[in-house]
Symmetry: C2
DNA sequence: AATTATTGTGCAATCGTTCCCGGCACAACC
DNA sequence: GGTTGTGCCGGGAACGATTGCACAATAATT
C-alpha cells in the first residue's frame, strides 16, 4: 500500500492531481480515464485505473457536491431511534437510499420543537438534497418548513404529517388500525375503554382518536372525554404516562380496557400497570400501536397494532428521491396509506 | 422574507457573489465585512451586514468544507440502532457533538464486514473529520481501518475494539461484568453454567468469556468447552440463537444456568426459552449483558449487566473531537474502562 | 502532397469561500 | 518633496472534480 505523504499529520486523501503528477498526465485526462470516456486510449485508461486502484483513490464528494450543486445525501428528522418503529423505518430508508447512491443523515428531536427546528435548518444549510420528516410531538408551527419547501427543498412526510405543506405523505392507516384495536377490546368484553395518546395536534393522534370513536359508535358505546388522556411529549418522560394512567385508575368508573396510540406510550403503560399490580387482562385489557419485536416476552400482555415500518421508510425514500431527481417541478402529490396488522396477545 | 429567484425551480441559496453584485463591491470585501475584519470601514461593514441579514445569507458549508478541508462532522459505525445499547450510545454521542458544532452521521453494519467496510470508506473519503467505531461481529480484517488511521484519520473505538490500531478505546469493564453475572448464577445454585456469546474474535467476546472463566475458577467449577456457544453474527438472525440454545438443551448434562454476552443474544435467548417452555428460573437461570429498559416487563426474567452506554458515547466523542482539534499529532492513547452494574431479576 | 477526419490530450472555467498580494489614496515623517 | 505608513478595497489563486473547447499528432481521404 502506498501512503500519501504530502503532509505527515493531517488526513489527506489522494486527489486527481496526485495521480496526474505521478503519471505525467493532466488532471482532465485522469478524470476522463476514470469515468471511462471513449476519447481516452485504452493504454492510458489502464495505466490510470491501475494506479488509482493501487492507491485506493476516491473522488472527493465535497468537491463534487460543490460542482454538482447537490450533496447526494438526504436528511431524516424523527423523534428517536431508540423507538423500534423508527429504527425499522430507518432501515427501510437506508435500504433504498444506499442503492440509489445517497447518504442518510439521521437527526433526533426527542419530541422537542426547538431541537427539530435547529436540526432541520442545519440539514438544509448543509445542503441535503431533500428531507424525510416525521414531526415532533411538540411541533405546531411548521412555518420554517414551509419556508424551505417554498424555496424548493424537496421533502416527504411520514408517520406524523402536516397538511400545511403540499407534498407527498406516507402514513399507516391509523383510523383503521385504531378502529380494529378498539373493536378488539370491545369484543373482549370491555365497556369502558380509555384512550392514551400523544399530543393532541399530531396527525397520528387525531386519526387514531377517530378510529377509536368510530369503533365506540359502531357498538353503541358512549364517548367520554374523561377517558381520553394526552401526553404532550408522547411519553418521552415516563412521568407523563404515569400520571395519565393513575388519573384514569382514580376515576369513579375505572376503565376496563385501554387503547394506546404509540410505541413509547404502549411500553410506558405496561410499566405503570405492572407497578400498580393491575391484573391484565382480568381487570384491564390493553391494546396499542407498537412495533417492538419483543412483545411476546412481555407481561402484562399487549395486543398490538403493527405498522409496516420498513416499507414506509422505503416508500418515503423512493418518493423523495423521485422528487429530487425529477427534471420538472412536481405539483401532483400523493398521500399513501398502508395497512396495519393486529397481533392479538391474550394471556 | 426575500426569496432567491435566480432560478425558479431549484433550491438556490444566496452567495457572496450575489451580495457583492447587489452592493457593487467585490466578493473579498463582502467576505471580510461578514467576518468582521479590521480592514473594512464601519460604513461598508454595516452596509454588507444589513443586506446579508435582509436576504438571510448563510455561508455555503460545502464550499467551506472544500476550502477548510474539513466537514465539521463525524462518522459513526455500529451494528444497529434498533439495539438499545447502541441507541443510548448514539444519544451520548450527539449530546457532545452538537454542543461542539459537529454533525453526526450514523451508519449501520448489521454485523456484516462488507457493509462496514463500504460505509466507513464512504465516510472517510472526505466527508467526515473523524470516526467512532464499534466493529461488526464479522470483522477480523481491520487493514482498511489501519490504512485510514496511518494516513491520519482520527478514530476512536468503543465497545468492540481492536488492539491492531493504536488509538483511544472506551469500553465497559467486560471482564468484571461477566464475572459478576456468572458469580450471581453460581450463588443462585447453578453448577452447569453455559455461555452464549457473539463471534469469537470480537474483543467483547474474549473479555466476557474471561470473566466467565474467572468466576468458574473462583468457585472451583470445571470449565467445559461444550457449554460455550458462539453466534457468528451476534444473533442477528434468530436462527443462530435458536440452534445454539437447542444444542445446549440437548446435551446429556443440560446446563442449569446461562450467561449471555450481548443485548441481542439476551433477548433472543429469552425468546427461545419461552418457546421451549423451559421454566425460568427453576430449570434455568439467565443472566446477560442487556441495556434494554423494558427488562422489568419480560418473562422469562433476565438478570442483566448494564453498560453505561450514554456515558460511553459521550466520552468517546469527547476523545475523538480532542483528537480532531489537536494541533499536534497525538501519540499518547488512552484505554478507558467504565464499570457495569448488575440488575438482579428473580421471579 | 495537401486537405480533412479522427484520436488523444491539455487548458481553463466553474462551483462558493477565504486569504495573500498588491494598489490607490491620503497623512505623517525626516 | 520623497519616503514610509496606514486604511480600505479589488484581483486572483486556491480547495478538487468535471467538461467544453482548442490543439496536437496521426490516419484517411482527395
Amino acid at each position: 500500500m502506498i501512503y500519501n505523504i504530502r503532509n505527515g499529520i493531517m488526513f489527506e486523501p489522494f486527489t486527481l492531481k496526485d495521480i496526474a503528477k505521478a503519471l505525467g498526465l493532466s488532471t482532465s485526462t485522469v478524470s476522463r480515464a476514470l469515468r471511462d470516456t471513449h476519447e481516452i486510449s485504452p493504454e492510458t485508461k489502464k495505466l490510470v485505473l491501475d494506479y488509482a486502484q493501487k492507491i485506493n483513490y476516491r473522488p472527493n464528494p465535497i468537491a463534487l457536491s460543490l460542482k454538482e450543486r447537490r450533496s447526494k445525501s438526504i436528511g431524516v428528522s424523527l423523534s428517536e431511534v431508540a423507538n423500534q418503529y423508527f429504527a425499522q423505518v430507518v432501515n427501510g430508508i437506508e435500504s433504498i437510499a444506499y442503492d440509489r447512491g445517497y447518504h442518510v443523515i439521521i437527526t433526533q428531536t426527542h419530541e422537542f420543537y426547538e431541537r427539530e427546528k435547529v436540526n432541520i435548518q442545519h440539514l438544509a444549510s448543509r445542503s441535503v438534497d431533500g428531507l424525510l420528516v416525521s414531526l415532533s410531538a411538540e411541533t405546531t408551527d411548521t412555518s420554517y418548513l414551509q419556508n424551505l419547501h417554498q424555496r424548493g427543498l424537496p421533502m416527504v412526510f411520514f408517520d406524523r404529517v402536516t397538511d400545511q405543506i403540499n407534498t407527498h405523505q406516507i402514513i399507516a392507516n391509523n383510523v383503521k388500525g385504531a378502529f380494529e384495536a378498539t373493536e378488539y377490546l370491545i369484543k373482549q368484553g370491555c365497556r369502558r375503554i380509555a384512550h392514551l395518546t400523544s399530543s393532541d395536534h399530531l396527525s397520528i393522534s387525531v386519526e387514531r382518536l377517530n378510529g377509536y370513536k368510530q369503533a365506540l359508535a359502531k357498538y353503541n358505546l358512549p364517548f367520554d372525554e374523561a377517558y381520553i388522556k394526552y401526553c404532550a411529549h408522547g411519553g418521552m418522560f415516563q412521568e407523563e404516562t404515569d400520571i395519565a394512567i393513575r388519573e384514569l385508575m382514580n376515576l369513579r368508573e375505572k376503565p376496563d380496557g385501554i387503547f394506546v396510540a404509540s410505541d413509547r406510550l404502549s411500553i410506558g403503560a405496561l410499566v405503570v400497570f405492572k407497578e400498580l399490580k393491575i391484573k391484565v387482562p382480568q381487570e384491564m385489557v390493553i391494546a396499542g400501536f407498537c412495533n417492538s419485536d419483543v412483545l411476546d416476552l412481555m407481561c402484562p400482555t399487549l395486543t398490538s397494532v403493527r405498522q409496516p415500518a420498513f416499507e414506509m421508510g422505503q416508500i418515503a425514500t423512493d418518493m423523495l428521491l423521485n422528487l429530487i431527481e425529477s427534471k420538472y417541478p412536481v405539483h401532483d402529490f400523493e398521500k399513501k396509506i398502508l395497512d396495519t396488522s393486529l397481533s392479538i396477545r391474550n394471556s
